[in-house]
């Protein structure tokens, strides 16, 4: 009996739900206190003003003015209150998530109130547009990871897929003068890295973490080399053409929502489609049930007649195609011309977003948007409020992620068979 209890206490997971609750509540309260004592106290005395329409919009919405400091205080009190509630009242799953969302919204709003120094109103529309465009490669990269890892193959090669997609899209679009050809080629290039990942991981049973890192190194070396050989000597291969924005007729006229969601390059619409399709396919279809079965327990899936290796091959390559589109965005969707290492770590951030979002498309979307927003704020804030030095502002997205991961998300559970090659017995 004594032995049993010692084993039971030893095996008990170290992070109890109780501990988790304390941690979440404490994080809420800390964020609330930051709202009050950092943003509230440092906010300027007057009103914070927000513009909710673009200069070109046909329907103008009046600029919203709120007293900066009192709003920060109020939002801080709300966050602290949520923290106290979280500690004392048992929350359901949904309530927990809503509480996290509420606290984050309070934080963002008081950040905006503090940031606006009053002279120039902050344009919420431009910030939102920026958030979405910054997030596109991250969302698509994380979705690619989601497709791979739900079927049980770890994908660290997202970075390489983005980079190769970016390179190929730029060179093909420039050489053929066709953006759509470039988009397709970029996607296929990501898919090609996916093929390599699949062949080595699934058929040659290579360690998948090694493989991902190596593919990133290889793609970086190859694109540097090809950039040297082809692009820098021949500017015709790197003309820098980009997609223009497409206004969805009707929808783009809606105030606030229109310019944010329905006035962008084709990449944003592809991203919407990818999120919806992958979320529905993975969690509400037989297809997805099979994929998840293969990722959780391949032997059981095999027993009921699912072809494990085929599903893994298919998903890894599909993931590569999706990430390739994200890579294409980096060149022909935004800046146009390719430069060496243009993906500059986006793939690793997408990987973090995937883990942060608990291997679900919607979770990854939320994580990617958080990054996108912080990156956008890092770009915008120095122009409106030059108090803080730029490098410190640039840290914000990463610090925010660490706080969110440590304080709010905690331990995540990957698909059970993620990273384990399947060998038929």
């Amino acid at each position: 009996m004594e032995r049993l209890t010692t084993v039971a206490t030893a095996v008990r997971p170290p992070l109890t739900t109780e501990r988790r609750r304390h941690l979440a509540a404490a994080t809420f309260i800390v964020i609330g206190l930051i709202n009050i004592f950092v943003f509230g106290v440092l906010a300027h005395a007057g009103d914070a003003s927000f513009e909710l329409s673009l200069a070109s919009a046909s329907v103008k919405i009046p600029v919203i003015r709120v007293p900066a400091a009192p709003v920060c205080y109020a939002l801080g009190v709300v966050a602290v209150g949520l923290g106290v509630l979280r500690e004392t009242v048992p929350f359901s799953r949904l309530a927990k998530r809503l509480a996290i969302a509420g606290v984050l919204v309070c934080f963002l709003l008081s950040l905006l109130c503090w940031a606006d120094a009053g002279a120039i109103p902050l344009n919420v529309i431009i910030i939102s547009q920026g958030t979405f465009t910054e997030s596109i490669p991250l969302i698509l990269g994380a979705l690619a990871g989601c497709l791979c890892e739900r079927s049980g193959v770890i994908n660290i090669a997202i970075e390489g897929q983005l980079l190769f997609g970016a390179f190929t899209a730029a060179i093909v679009a420039s050489a053929f003068g066709g953006l759509w050809v470039g988009l397709v080629a970029g996607s296929l290039a990501g898919g090609l890295v996916g093929v390599l990942l699949a062949v080595f991981a699934i058929s040659f049973l290579t360690d998948q973490i090694v493989l991902g890192v190596v593919l990133n190194v290889l793609v970086l070396g190859m694109t540097d080399y090809l950039y040297d050989r082809l692009m820098s000597q021949n500017p015709n291969y790197n003309t820098g053409i980009t997609f223009g924005s497409i206004k969805i007729p009707g929808l783009s006229q809606i105030p606030i929502i229109g310019p944010i969601f329905f006035d962008s390059t084709v990449f944003l619409y592809i991203t919407y489609a990818a999120i919806i399709v992958i979320q529905v396919a993975l969690f509400h279809s037989r297809w997805g049930l099979r994929v998840r079965a293969v990722g959780e327990h391949p032997t059981a899936a095999d027993t009921v007649g699912i072809n494990v290796l085929w599903i893994r091959y298919r998903n890894v390559i599909l993931g590569g195609l999706v990430a390739g589109i994200g890579g294409a965005y980096l060149t022909i969707g935004s800046v146009g011309s390719f430069i060496p290492d243009i993906s500059s770590g986006f793939g690793y951030i997408a990987l973090a977003a995937l883990i942060f979002g608990r291997w679900t498309p919607l979770g990854a979307l939320a994580a990617a948007l958080l990054f996108g927003f912080c990156e956008e704020m890092a770009l915008v804030l120095p122009t409106v409020n030059p108090v803080l030095p730029a490098p410190i502002m640039n840290m914000a997205p990463y610090v925010a992620t660490i706080i969110a991961v440590a304080g709010l998300v905690g331990k995540v559970r990957p698909p059970k068979a993620d990273g384990q090659p399947y060998v038929k017995a």
Partner: protein, 459 residues
């Protein structure tokens, strides 16, 4: 796949040898380390003649079945073959010759051979040994020049070995440390500050800076381990994020003269560290090898000792093999995570010290280079074993030196980027022994591949 009992009795005599060369999973617990430190070489109490025959059989078997050493050599060879294609493609003479391949096939082949062999010879002469220096030494030249290439290789390898060890030790405890770059920056900041901001007697200054760099990196590593242990935050996310945080912190510190910036500078650059904080050099000025290399080798030996001969190291490896089993056995898993990340960070910090105090003598925003990411590939190629990491670091150091040399020798025709492709291919092929066996028609052994170095997200 063949049944294990059927092949069981046959390779019995080779088991000591192959265990030394290719530590299989069961050997992981104990004999793997003994094997690679060279202790398990001689079979006890065997007659001399049979031992010689045994050695012969072991070597033949190693070659035909592909021991891990043979696989590594073949992987390097295969990578060089693929690299040759890139080199040939870079040479306009060769591409022109191939355009007339059907009229003059022989000419195309000889041109390709000339171009590729020239590039690789240059690489070898730049990184390892240049025969012309020997004859020059006989004719009154410098004798030290003979060792110049090797010395540069060791100097290049030094920081790679240390970041490689940082990644490797974390791997052994089941953690993936992508954050060697951030920890490197942490170490570099402290080493630089102690280097120019404090005045101390010569020898003590060096030691204080080294210790400071270790602490600077260790704090960053500790933070990762602490968050994982206390909140469950995944180390991959936290290390990636901390890398960016540290880059931005470095940029901030280097752009403020009150912090680390050199006075009267607009660039992100720190003052030179004091002369008495510099690590001594053996052969001459900075591209030459210095005490830093000895520090790297000593660190590798220390890590090898820690992992194979101490309780702490045993706990690391047990946690790495299975955290839940380790917890059941009474090992404090969280404590191991924190401690191993602290050590990993410290090693990455030491890597920074060898660069700042050894070769660069001053910190700039670009100092961190690619030591962190390279550390991952070095650790993977060295299979997360300290001695393997040293060898892998030397190989990568040689490739870096050779790459720069060949780029200069061919006037930029063969870009140094090729080296990165070579490095990637080598690690890829080493990690996929099944591919190497298929290409070189080696008989497959019972094992499906080398032991897993890195574990997945499930820890």
């Amino acid at each position: 796949m063949t049944e294990t009992p059927a092949t069981g009795p046959d390779p019995e005599p080779a088991s000591t040898g192959s265990a030394a060369a290719q530590p299989a999973e069961p050997a992981e617990a104990g004999s793997a380390e003994a094997g690679q430190t060279g202790a398990g070489q001689a079979g006890p109490g065997k007659p001399a003649g049979s031992r010689a025959r045994l050695t012969g059989a072991v070597i033949i078997q190693a070659i035909t079945q592909g021991s891990s050493t043979v696989i590594t050599i073949l992987a390097i060879f295969l990578a060089l073959v693929v690299g040759a294609v890139l080199i040939a493609f870079s040479d306009p003479v060769v591409t022109k010759a191939w355009s007339t391949f059907f009229s003059y096939p022989f000419y195309a082949l000889t041109q390709t051979w000339d171009s590729v062999s020239f590039a690789y010879t240059q690489m070898f002469e730049g990184a390892i040994f240049n025969p012309s220096t020997v004859s020059a030494a006989f004719h009154g030249g410098s004798v030290a020049a003979i060792f110049y290439p090797l010395s540069s290789t060791c100097a290049q390898a030094t920081p790679l070995i240390l970041t490689g060890l940082s990644v490797a030790i974390a791997f052994r405890a089941g953690l993936f440390n992508i954050g060697a770059a951030g920890q490197w920056v942490g170490g570099a900041i402290v080493a630089t500050w102690l280097g120019f901001g404090v005045s101390l007697p010569p020898f003590i200054h060096v030691v204080v800076c080294l210790a400071g760099a270790f602490v600077g990196g260790a704090v960053i590593g500790w933070f990762v381990g602490f968050l994982k242990a206390r909140t469950g935050a995944h180390e991959v996310i936290v290390t990636i994020m901390l890398n960016y945080v540290m880059y931005d912190l470095l940029s901030y510190l280097l752009s403020h003269p009150t912090m680390l910036q050199q006075p009267h500078q607009t660039n992100e650059i720190a003052p030179f560290i004091a002369n008495d904080a510099n690590l001594a050099h053996v052969g001459g000025p900075p591209p030459q090898v210095g005490i830093g290399f000895l520090i790297a080798v000593a660190a590798a030996l220390a890590v090898a000792w820690l992992l194979s001969r101490t309780t702490t190291g045993f706990q690391f490896r047990t946690v790495g093999a299975s955290p839940s089993a380790a917890r059941t056995a009474g090992i404090k898993v969280e404590r191991s995570w924190i401690l191993v990340m602290l050590l990993a960070g410290g090693l990455a910090g030491l890597s920074a010290a060898t660069v700042i105090q050894g070769t660069n003598t001053q910190l700039t925003f670009n100092s961190y280079g690619t030591y962190g990411p390279d550390g991952i590939t070095v650790a993977l190629l060295g299979r997360a074993k300290p001695i393997g990491v040293v060898l892998a670091g030397l190989l990568f150091g040689a490739l870096h030196v050779g790459g720069t040399y060949v780029e200069a020798a061919t006037l930029g025709q063969v870009p140094a980027d090729i080296v990165q492709v070579l490095e990637g291919l080598i690690v890829l092929f080493v990690a996929a022994p099944a591919l190497i066996r298929a290409v070189f028609r080696l008989r497959s052994t019972a094992g499906t591949g080398l032991e897993a170095v890195a574990k997945g997200w499930n820890g």
